[in-house]
Amino acid sequence: MAFPGPSRRGNQGERELLMLDNTTMWEAAMKKFVNDPKNFVPEMLKGIALANPGTLKYVPEYNLIMRAEGPRNDKVSIVQGSGSGHEPAHVMVVGKGMLDAACPGDVFSAPPMEYVLETTKLLKSDKGVLLLVNNYTGDKMAFEMASELAEAEGITVKTLFINDDVAVQDSLYTIGRRGVAGNFFVMKAVGAAAEAGADLQECARIGEKVNSVTRTMGIALSACTPPAKGEPLFQLGDDEIEIGIGIHGEPGRRREKIRDANAIVDTLLDAVVPDLPYSSGDEVALMINGLGGTPISELYLLYGIAHEKLAAKGISVWRSYVGEYCTSLEMAGASLTLVKVDDEIKQLLTAPAEIAIRVF
């Protein structure tokens, strides 16, 4: 950071000390692929754009990844914002059939209001803009303020809050359940509907519907280290796991001793299944989402166990989703999501899409 020319400024000494501290911290403690930690998000976003020339565009001013072709007036624009650190959510699921744009904030921080506002303006469409937001205080505020201002500028906007996490219960006080990995299903369904020409009202209906039948619960085996922090967000004992972890490393319901995979799947299903509830005869999509540091081999192991335990309850898995969908940097852990599906949802979830994350 360069300090601009002559200006009235206070305790410079203290700030220089801090910068020094930051550098030392990086060198000593952080095992990450990163240059200046402050540029972690921009450099990642640049990489995404370079990896997808012709299909994705990066607008550095607003941390914005959008389809290269821009918004279309005959299609609702679907936008999701949130903190960074959850990749592939949401910047890597921009593309035909899913998002039109994603405007992330810094790691684990809701995007500043201006990013959301400018993104909404850049994605303006005659058919309207649908903003998908994970239900957190900061995100909610930024999106509400931005959509008010966007509407004042003549843009039709609807905002949809995703809140699939059963770890946090509604209460008089809190803002309510959090949005976590289940948001993938909302984005996929709404994206498919918008691509097929649905209007704003219809897109919102579909989003609400999918959100209403989606439930998630996660478990962390380790903490994670935000690049600009340089230290783990929390400490877990060698034999401890965090049940109901939030995707920003927020503590969950409780800490317990590590147990075998069967017991862990039981814990996850016991939280998720009775919540909707999912009942015998239901058809579901089953997602085992990796939190960033858990290998896909372990995720498939969990999948197999969950699939069979659901079958034993008479709940049949219609389709599997195993991999990383919504992560917490390099946190080891996993979440389990169920979506109760019907023909409409099935069709939307399997509709084609062309996004940054792909295998070949």
């Binding site: 700030r15 801090l18 904030g105 500043p112 209001m113 957190y136 900061g138 946090v168 803002i175």
Partner: protein, 208 residues
């Protein structure tokens, strides 16, 4: 007590520098039951304030503060952007057109900031947010001004009140923001926002 524009500038300057300098400390506080970004968010936003420092319209205190508010609201991520931005905006709104401020102006600014924060985030006193430092601090300022104390003493008393109240958030259960998810587990750690208010008040007192 009257306060010149210079004084306002110097206080905002102190806030700016202190938020930048305490990036790590504020972040560490937020990782206890939060997500650790509080320090980073404030620091990146106040760096913007620092960068634009010489360019802000200084016609009057109200205009000046609203310019600062726009930078904060626009560029600070997380909950803090809307909360702190709203606070500066509402504070500025009470002193539109003024260049010199009375003690009553200062209290009005702080009360407006508090109301703005409550409106934006829906929090009340005792829910373990920065309000739990800001409100007792404002009460103290009002009392001391009424008692006719000198400005420097008022500022010192404000810092003590903010610190005492901020430290006392340790006993509270969080009902708002990310910490609220942890319910009872939030008891035992201080609220980062409240501590930030205390640190800022102390720095303001120090540099008065």
């Amino acid at each position: 007590m009257t306060s010149s524009f210079d004084r306002v500038e110097s206080v905002v300057r102190t806030i700016t520098d202190t938020c930048i300098a305490n990036e790590k400390y504020f972040g560490d506080l937020d990782s206890v039951v939060g997500d650790g970004d509080f320090g980073f968010s404030l620091a990146r936003g106040f760096e913007r304030v620092d960068e634009g420092w010489d360019t802000f319209d200084r016609t009057d205190v109200g205009t000046f503060l609203s310019k600062i508010a726009i930078v904060i609201t626009s560029r600070v991520g997380g909950t803090s952007g809307p909360i702190w931005g709203t606070a500066f905006l509402r504070a500025g709104g009470t002193v539109k057109g003024k260049v010199d401020l009375t003690g009553e102006d200062v209290v009005a600014m702080l009360r407006a900031a508090i109301e703005g924060i409550k409106a934006r985030g829906g929090a009340s006193l005792g829910e373990k947010t920065l309000l739990d430092a800001l409100v007792p601090m404002t009460d103290t300022i009002e009392e001391r001004l009424a008692a006719g104390d000198a400005a420097a003493d008022v500022v010192k008393a404000a810092a003590v009140a903010a610190r005492t109240a901020a430290d006392a958030t340790k006993e509270l259960e969080a009902k708002r923001g990310r910490a609220a998810y942890t319910g009872e587990r939030s008891i035992g750690s201080v609220d980062p926002g409240a501590i930030a208010v205390a640190v800022l008040a102390e720095k303001v007192a120090e540099t008065w």
